[in-house]
């Protein structure tokens, strides 16, 4: 199964979860998602998602000067973003439970 197709539906949730853990900038979000195991996540997908969430009021942004390189645009969750994260997490739990059940039923049937 192509993991990138699965990711498309849950990338918002993954990005919100990463930023909920700590405010972060684009490059760092990509890095943290990959370190968490989402190795197939595309750079462009993350940046597009960040922009869309920001435009939708789920994220705020601020610039942090960096001595080592360009200034970094950090993103943080807004109240709306936290609400969206909580709501998406509930949906994901139900969805995952449903799939677990389906997979489990299939497995039992196979056995």
């Amino acid at each position: 199964m192509d993991a990138s197709q699965l990711l498309k539906g849950v990338l918002d949730l993954a990005v919100l979860a990463v930023i909920d853990e700590a405010d972060s900038y684009g490059y760092d979000v990509v890095r943290r998602l990959r370190e968490a195991g989402l190795e197939d996540v595309g750079d462009a997908s993350v940046y597009g998602t960040l922009r869309r969430l920001f435009q939708g009021g789920k994220l705020s942004s601020y610039v942090v000067p960096s001595d080592e390189g360009p200034h970094r645009k950090y993103y943080g969750l807004t109240a709306s973003g936290r609400d969206a994260l909580a709501e998406s997490t509930k949906h994901w739990e139900r969805f995952a439970d449903t799939l677990d059940s389906l997979v489990g039923l299939d497995r039992k049937a196979a056995a």
Binding site: Y27, D43, S45, Y47, V63, K73
Partner: protein, 357 residues
Amino acid sequence: MSTCTLSPASAAYLAAVEAELDDLPFDVRAELLDDLADHLAALDEADDVETGDLEELHRRLGRPAPYAAELRASAGLPQRPPGGAPPTPPRPPLGDRIVATSAYRFVDGYRAELRVTWWAARAVLATLLVAAVTGDASLPLPAVLGSRLVGLVTVGLMLWGSFELGRRQLDGRTNRYGRAIAVGGAAVAGLGVLALGADGFDGQAIVYDGPAGAVPYGMWNTDGEPITNLFVYDAEGNLLHDVLVYDQSGRPVVLDGYGDAVRSQPADANGAPVPNAYPVQERPIEWTPDGRAQAGEPLPPPAVVLPRLDEQGARISDAERYGVPEPAIPVTTIAPVTTIDPASTTTTATSAVAPPG
């Protein structure tokens, strides 16, 4: 948004993606490309990434066209039309062009700092306005209700309120009352600036206004040398003593001695020195061999060449010359008085004349 230096390969990749986004509105394209530029700069700096090679960038990020397509899809933007951008894209609005300038990008890089500075400034201005109404609006700590302690507490409360309001605005948590407070606060702060500015201007106006105001102090020649004394001669070439000098606004003209001479000023009938009576006796400060200061001999009047005045001009009355029917009424009577000599215990009587009455 930030400015950064890219490797040639990264710059080429950025340009290629830009070409793929050329149908998007100017500001949207600028935002997407800024993010990509920052990302490429971070890749350039990462030790484990070799981005000098364009092929390596393609391997990591994908080719520019798929990258741009993926970016559009995830950002919720329309895909590029088959024909690409319109042949003659409309000129972006002025606002978009300003946003695209390097100056805007530089300032925008400090948006967070500017925002926080504004929050603090509006709190201080609001406090100053309250202090101006109720007490003393002087800096650094204004007195509110006559108390600097209350002023300190007020500054603290204003700062807390301003930052809380700012954070709510930032998070999109303000309701219409919060927005009204923000707009009203900005208006009040603006009025406060104007009011404080007007106060300062009025203060200066009071200082220099009218003949009874403060005395102008000090004059300089055009070459920057201070004028320390005035010598007035009549039409016959006689040096006048105890001449009272006023400027065009009727303010006494007072000169400074700049501390290099002992100045003996004519005094009025009560013994008080008259600061605008000239010439002043000046005695240079000299140093004795044992290191003590003492007043030297009085400086003589300067050697001057007096022009011969037109005799007809000397006969012109004040009424003709100045348009006033009566001579000025004297308010000060100068008596033969002592001169003040701080460096010596002796006093010297100088010739003094009463002004015409």
